[in-house]
Amino acid sequence: MRPIMSLKTDLYNRDVKQNTETILLNAALNGDADSFNRLCERYYSAIVAIAYSRLSDRNLAEDAAQEAFYIAFRDISKLKKPNHFGRWLTKICRNVSSDMAKVRRRDKLIAVEDIELHPNEKTEQENYDEVVRSIISKLPLKAREVIYLRFYNKLSYQEISNVLGISQEAVNGRLRRAKKLIIKELGMHNSVEVDL
């Protein structure tokens, strides 16, 4: 007999999320299509956020996420640590997104022009959000990822840590640095506006 898990914990209060993820992953590893799809459903928005932080285009980000799922599905037998599924998927998504970003740069498909087409029709708030978005898009990649996971996906530090494969302290550090940079840039932006 070999122990498999601590079963002396409260049976009604255990970490069921991890439990169900393990179930789904094992089922997917055993060839169950529905379970793989349910894993995709769980990770979809986080993976889209990772992709968006590189591509700054929602449609492209969704394409990248779906492509990443396909690669994950194809290579799932290579996954050595099932509890690292999230971070493994993230790595795949980063690679896919980077490739797409390269192609986009090469084809000069930079879809930012639309933003400035009708500046006068936007409210002050919308314009301000645009400024913040622009600042975020210029942050280092690692900071952008953590910003999107935290503020778009509303993930906890623990969840971000699982997705990115870094410690919660590192998540906290990246977030703090990212916020400082945003504040700094916002300050600069405001001072320019005042000067004008």
């Binding site: 079963l7 094992n26 995709c40 889209v48």
Partner: protein, 354 residues
């Protein structure tokens, strides 16, 4: 940042800026785009040896009783009918699995409504598509836990030594206890790999030949036999009309790798007078793991109250109650419940008079 107010303002500002709208994964479109041929799925390499059940059934939407009763029944009724002696591997398999004492099963169980679309049955806002964990022990019994997302929806415990059953429904803070019948205990014993293979050896089945599943070379058997299940309960209570199933046995491993079963169930109390279909798929599991006796404890959790007949009846619409009478169930089930209820009321009334 000077204070919490500033931090809150910044968080809100960032949240607004990064809001790209809700995104939702569409499995159907994804499959159409990337996996037009679904047979790809069976080429995945197995990672763990884990038994898993995926049960898809089409059931009534009317009653919690149906959910509970079906859950109990599905634990007891695995689709291991009585096919038999089709291939050369079975005898070896029987010997190989004889020493297995415990098993952990993981998987999913889905209840769907009849029809080609197979809509997932919903009850009380809960989609009955369960992630499962089952603990099987020859010594202690069987536990099945059903989760929806991260939420435990039910936990069914069959305590073997005590011959008792406990059903716990955390979303409703309810529980049900009952004595397990000999037939149930017998079927429980058959849920072990040994029992499964014994059942396979006992009857007839059709050998479909060699196949490969998840990269494992297997021998496939097909079986069809509802007799075993008809014996479990009366037709009025649970009307299994047909069962078809397949078993994959790893040639090298000499162990069951996967089991699938399809049930056709007629109008009965269990289905709240609806025709339904049920599909179950099992794949490999972990054997001889250490399972605490505590897991099989049949003490209801603190703060839970017993599920009564009135709880159930209040959820059954008039149409279904009429069905109960029409099928003669009223003579065996409803009065029994009402008698208890009326006696209870009478006692109360008498007590009040004093």
């Amino acid at each position: 940042m000077k204070n919490k107010k500033d931090e809150k303002w910044l968080d809100e500002t960032i949240s607004r800026a990064v809001d790209i709208g809700e995104v939702k994964f569409d499995p159907k479109k994804w499959r159409e785009k990337y996996l037009p041929n679904e047979s790809h799925y069976v080429k995945l390499k197995p990672h763990y040896n884990i038994w898993r059940f995926i049960m898809e059934s089409k059931v009534t939407k009317y009653s919690a009783a149906a959910v509970v009763a079906l859950a109990i029944t599905l634990v007891l009724l695995s689709p291991f009918g009585t096919p038999g002696n089709g291939g050369v591997v079975l005898a070896d398999v029987q010997q190989k699995v004889a020493g297995i004492e415990t098993m952990i099963i993981r998987g999913t169980k889905t209840f769907t409504r009849p029809g080609e679309d197979g809509d997932i049955f919903e009850f009380d806002g809960i989609k009955c598509q369960f992630d499962l964990v089952k603990y099987l022990s020859i010594k202690h019994g069987l536990v099945e836990e059903g989760y929806v997302g991260d939420k435990l929806i039910y936990r069914i415990t069959f305590n073997h030594p005590k011959k008792k059953t406990l059903v716990v429904l955390p979303p409703w803070k309810k529980y049900v206890t009952s004595a397990s019948t000999d037939k149930q205990m017998q079927l429980l014993e058959n849920l072990t790999p040994k029992g499964i293979i014994n059942l396979l050896m006992a009857g007839d089945c059709k050998e479909l030949g060699p196949d490969s599943i998840n990269g494992v070379e297997v021998e496939v058997f097909e079986f069809q036999d509802p007799v075993t299940f008809k014996e479990l309960a009366s037709k009025v209570f649970f009307d299994v009309q047909n069962i078809k199933g397949k078993v994959w046995i790893g040639i090298k491993e000499q162990m069951p790798v996967r089991v699938e079963g399809d049930f056709v169930i007629g109008k009965c109390l269990m289905s709240m007078f609806h025709d339904l279909n049920l599909r179950e798929v099992n794949t490999f599991g972990e054997y001889n793991v250490e399972l605490d006796e505590e897991i099989f404890d049949i003490k209801p959790p603190e703060g839970y109250t017993e599920l009564t007949l009135s709880d159930i009846l209040s959820l059954i619409p008039a149409e279904a109650k009429a069905g109960l009478v029409g099928l003669g169930v009223s003579s065996c089930i409803i009065p029994a419940g009402f008698i208890v209820w009326k006696r209870h009321r009478k006692k109360k009334t008498t007590a009040n008079r004093h």
